[in-house]
Subunit: 324 residues, 2 copies
């Protein structure tokens, strides 16, 4: 995210986070929370809260507690997902359950989730908001848990449909991006129609973003992504490419593909799957899908009148055109 | 809890819970939530919400969503505590992570916590409450996590003081009982002074309750408690009796006691610890402490004028006099 205004908002958020790291007794509960908050990342979600608020107000300070709540929530979900996925690393460093232990990651995750709600409920009381940002967050949080459960369930199913896959990433990833924009605009006092359009922008952008992510795993340049080419294939992860290939193959070839995909152990095996994807034109199909959701995101912005949405447009372009 | 009015309120709550079991897609997320809700128990916490509301209003229906939120919260904390403690059983049946798996217990626990907040935030919006029951819940939830972390930390420390132990059980157990009464009275529209007194009643009763629980482990009748005599001793659990004994023993005897307590493997070993407790008068000391917190709970009720608190008095007596 190289846009100067993005950098500006991310900088404001980083400073606010540094001043508002969770502290309390016993410190053994709070240290893992600070640890994950300090792992960095692009801070896309809190910046989206600020960007939405910023459409109406130049000073984003009143939206910072909500941005922090979203970042806390996101980090809670990473902590618990990493336990469930037994992921040893997060952002290139030890995941929380590796660096501390599993119990610390469960309990500090719970506490970040609670603190996220506390921030939003408190903000709502102070500003006497007519509609409830905390309720938006509750509904979104539950959808994210549903998405995570769908993802877990997919691992033991052989053939999810493309629609089911899209519904899973909509819940697991996209709806939080939508909620960031909805919440930012609600705090700014925007009309609900406008908040809904911003939500649709975020949600569709989230879908494009996740499909892009799945694509980079196979068709990205490892020197730019910093990840092993075909890492998802090696892990047998049923990503968008897998689902598309499976649903395109003739019935007679499906079982063979399912078996070989789940048994890839070498670079040669990875290359074979990639070769199949190429021969089937999966990359083009995939690019079309990204474009589809990207354009839906852009067209949602047309409903928003009287404010300058150019920042959101360039953010979307950068997110979908990224090579890492 | 044999009081007829307690039974009446518990019955109303059971019927409401049965009609409001969490359902959604995928069902694999919601099934573990219904499972733990169906494990039963005395429903002390939701009934306390209803009892507090009932002081002012005969029909408890408006307080039922808050009672449900509290039960959801309590069951979330049981689910996650059982993972952390690796407890195979809960209420004599398989714990959630045993019956399903660990990931289901993490994620369904998260979802119950979220649903708990959703219910309270929604209720607050609908009733346009001046002060925030959801904020009370957030602050209480965080204290409970702190209490759980203190409990975990105690297991690797040899000599917590009595004050530290009381602070741990205050956070882990007692403050939720206080919060139930505070929330019930807030929904009823009670003055904050009255809510504070009810909180103090619940908190002190919770301390007496937990100390009673620790005492029953050793001095209770196994036929009535349904638990092995000295089960805590066998597990090396640092309960109130352990902490009292440790802090009463002369310095020269402490190390010996710590070592022998952590290495009990037989009925004979249990008997030896119980014999030591008896010789030190721990049972009497302990009973004095229960009485102390019980009386503080009762005296908090004196501040509440104009309503009939006799139900709360008999509830407290029953809770502290119970033999199981």
């Amino acid at each position: 995210m190289n846009h100067p205004h993005y950098q500006h908002l991310a900088g404001i958020f980083e400073a606010y986070l540094a001043e508002h790291q969770p502290r309390g007794t016993p410190d053994s509960l709070y240290e893992p929370m600070r640890y994950i908050n300090n792992l960095g990342g692009k801070r896309i979600r809190p910046v989206l809260v600020l960007m939405a608020y910023n459409l109406w107000h130049p000073d984003v300070a009143p939206a910072l507690p909500a941005a922090l709540a979203i970042e806390y929530f996101h980090n809670f979900s990473l902590m618990h997902d990493d336990i469930m996925d037994e992921a040893p690393l997060r952002r290139g460093k030890e995941s929380v359950h590796t660096h501390f232990d599993r119990n610390a990651a469960i309990l500090a995750g719970d506490s970040l989730l609670i603190k996220s709600f506390e921030l939003l409920i408190d903000l709502e009381q102070r500003y006497r908001l007519g509609s409830s940002v905390a309720l938006v967050m509750a509904k979104t949080s539950l959808e994210i848990c549903e998405g995570q459960q769908m993802d877990i369930d997919f691992e033991t199913r052989t053939s999810p449909s493309e629609d089911e896959y899209v519904e899973m990433i909509r819940k697991k990833t996209a709806c939080l991006l939508g909620a960031c924009l909805r919440i930012g605009s609600m705090i700014a006092g925007a009309h609900s129609d406008v908040s809904n359009s911003l939500y649709a922008y975020g949600e569709n952008l989230g879908l494009a973003f996740q499909i892009k992510d799945d694509t980079l795993d196979v068709f990205g340049d490892p020197e730019l992504t910093g990840k092993q080419k075909g890492g998802d294939i090696l892990q047998g992860k049923k990503n968008f490419l897998y689902v598309c290939a499976l649903n395109t193959l003739p019935e007679s070839d499906k079982e063979n593909f399912i078996n070989s995909y789940s048994n890839v152990t070498s670079d040669q095996g990875i290359s074979k799957v990639i070769e199949l994807y190429r021969s089937m034109g999966i990359e083009d199909y995939d690019r079309e899908k990204q474009k589809h959701y990207f354009e839906r995101a852009m067209s949602s912005l047309h409903n928003i009148k009287g404010v300058d949405t150019s920042m959101l447009k360039s953010f979307a372009e950068e997110l979908v055109k990224r090579e890492h």
